[in-house]
């Protein structure tokens, strides 16, 4: 265990600390109760699994018999209102992202978010497809990235340990270093299939409905801003695909 940080200059703002400082004889207990609370916070991370696809299965494997996240106090709960950590496991689509955001907003503070798997991190090779969100950090803040497709259960556990370190730092009032977002490898093939704002999308064949535009705007996908006043009819029509010879 690492040495506890020097706390002589720290200003505690929690009412519990005020109470303990006011009662004579209790000041000695401040440090140890703080450590106790930190220990409790790091080892009772209740997880809300936002499992959509393959990573969800691997996350289930991490929670099941062999790896067993329970021994770190990480319980899986089905409702966001009881949870501290949201594990986003799997591809998040444009249709699903507002729901994820809403579930995230329903979780009580303090809360953390873990992006598990390359789809949740960056969308991977689905990132340029019209229906997929290029990474969940475009919608909600992510604390820990667990790369892999899908990550092994052991990797999930390593990510959870990293999250515990962050919880400790945040409780100690120290600056929490932000995780670096793993980027897609240069050689990954990332096909593009027309997004809503794609100007090459054919205008007449499948016109974009106002509701679709509105939902995409509300999402505010980072790096893919919606141009104002997009005119579907004015967009150039893509050349017709060559007919197959059967």
């Amino acid at each position: 265990m690492s040495k506890p940080p020097d706390e002589s200059e720290r200003n505690y703002e929690h009412p519990l600390y005020d109470y303990m400082l006011r009662v004579p004889g209790l000041d000695v207990a401040v440090t140890s109760i703080d450590q106790l609370l930190t220990w409790g916070a790091t080892h009772s991370l209740w997880i809300f699994p936002m499992a959509t696809s393959c990573c969800g299965i691997e996350f289930m494997a991490a929670a099941a018999s062999r790896v067993d996240l329970d021994r770190m106090g990480a319980m899986i709960r089905g409702t966001p209102r009881q949870c501290d950590v949201m594990v986003v496991a799997g591809t998040i689509t444009v249709k699903m992202a507002p729901r994820v955001k809403r579930l995230w907003d329903q979780m009580p503070e303090p809360k953390w978010c873990v992006a598990m798997g390359s789809c949740a991190i960056s969308g991977d090779f689905y990132r340029d497809i019209y229906s997929v969100v290029p990474g969940i950090d475009t919608a909600i803040p992510v604390d820990v990235y667990i790369p892999g497709c899908p990550p092994n259960p052991e990797t999930v556990m390593a990510g959870l340990l990293r999250l515990q370190d962050k919880v400790r730092l945040r409780r100690a009032g120290l600056p929490v270093p932000s995780d670096e977002r793993p980027e897609v490898h240069d050689r990954t093939i990332v096909p593009t299939i027309g997004r809503y704002e794609d100007r090459k999308r054919r205008g007449g064949a499948d016109p974009i409905s106002e509701a679709q535009l509105e939902s995409a705007r509300r999402l505010l996908v980072r790096g893919f801003p919606m141009p104002e006043g997009i005119d579907a009819a004015a967009t150039p029509v893509a050349p017709a695909k060559e007919e197959p010879k059967l």
Partner: protein, 411 residues
Amino acid sequence: MASTAAVSSKARASSTEASLTPTRAFVPDPYLDLATYAAAADLLTLSLGPQHPSTHGVFRVVLYLDGELIVKAVPHVGYLHRGVEKLCEKLSYSNVTPILDKNDYVAPMCNEQAANMVFEQLLGVEVPLRAKFVRTLLAELQRIASHLLWLGTFAMDLGGALGGGTSVFMYCFRERELILDLFEELTGCRFHYNTHCIGGNRHDIPAGYPALVHQSLDLIEARLLEYLGMLEHPIFRDRTRGVGTVDAELALELGLTGPLLRASGIDHDLRRDAPYHVYDLLDVNVICDDGGDCYARYKVRLQEIAESIRLSRLLIDNLPAGPICSTKPLSGVTQFKITSGQAYVAIESPRGELGTWLIAGGKGMNPYRMKLRPPSLHALAAVPYLFPRHTLSDAVAILGSLDPIMGEADR
């Protein structure tokens, strides 16, 4: 529909509470107009999903409840739509396989096989006998793993009846890990193997592998009896018997395949009726049940595990020598070109008939059109027929017994 009329009145006759009595004696109708249902009824609209632990992914169904009884169910799909079919049109033939792994993420081996078989059919490539044996073996092992995962999650859906339900889940995952270890030993991956290629397999069976397979299968076979001990008790039977009955007529009408169809009493299995790989050399026992309810589906799947264990042993014992792949190792994306023709290949995945229809065209680099026929989507089509006249807790059991995988349903 005829089937829902056949929903066992036996199971419901015992419930005498007022909340279980519908306001109106109704004929179950998936297209029920709620305005005409009953003026006095105080219908509750409940949106189950898209995030719900029992929906097995991101499936949403809007339920209209009269008291505790469901009068109408409207399913919504598309929360995991990733444009896979369109994506395949942008990729070269050798790059399609790893994409389809992520389609049905509980049985990736079967998806790979279906895609590569359709390419081989159009290219006219012969698959060596050893590769066919390995493919059959992998498919059967994958069926065991998939059914084990289904059993664990189904027991968890039934929840309270089984002491929290997580015990069966834990046991099933213990056995599933054995199968995944076998796959990891062979391909290096727990998931998304990308082991099939055009003309055969990428990874040959290593030395000592048959012993490992036998060891794992022996363990799983012995532990299947433990499941029976845990599951065969009155509460489990009460919650599954007579719940969600599909008769043969409705099953055929909806296009149900696989264990769902066989649990409705129709003796149909592509492994025997339209053999591919080396299934024509094997004598596959097709397991059927006449019940049509959740209990029948559970029984069919559990017996299919035992049948797959038997087939896997046969296959690994009789593995012929020879090359594993008939084509050269992949040198570039332009190695395989299919300029014209179309083909449909259907295989029996753990969930039913997994079809892949390919139209080749253009310059031959990419598929012109690739249509996937996912069994899960057709299973979900049964939801509006099965849910009415059941309670909310039964709805969860029915949805669990359908074993939908949203990755392949939404594509």
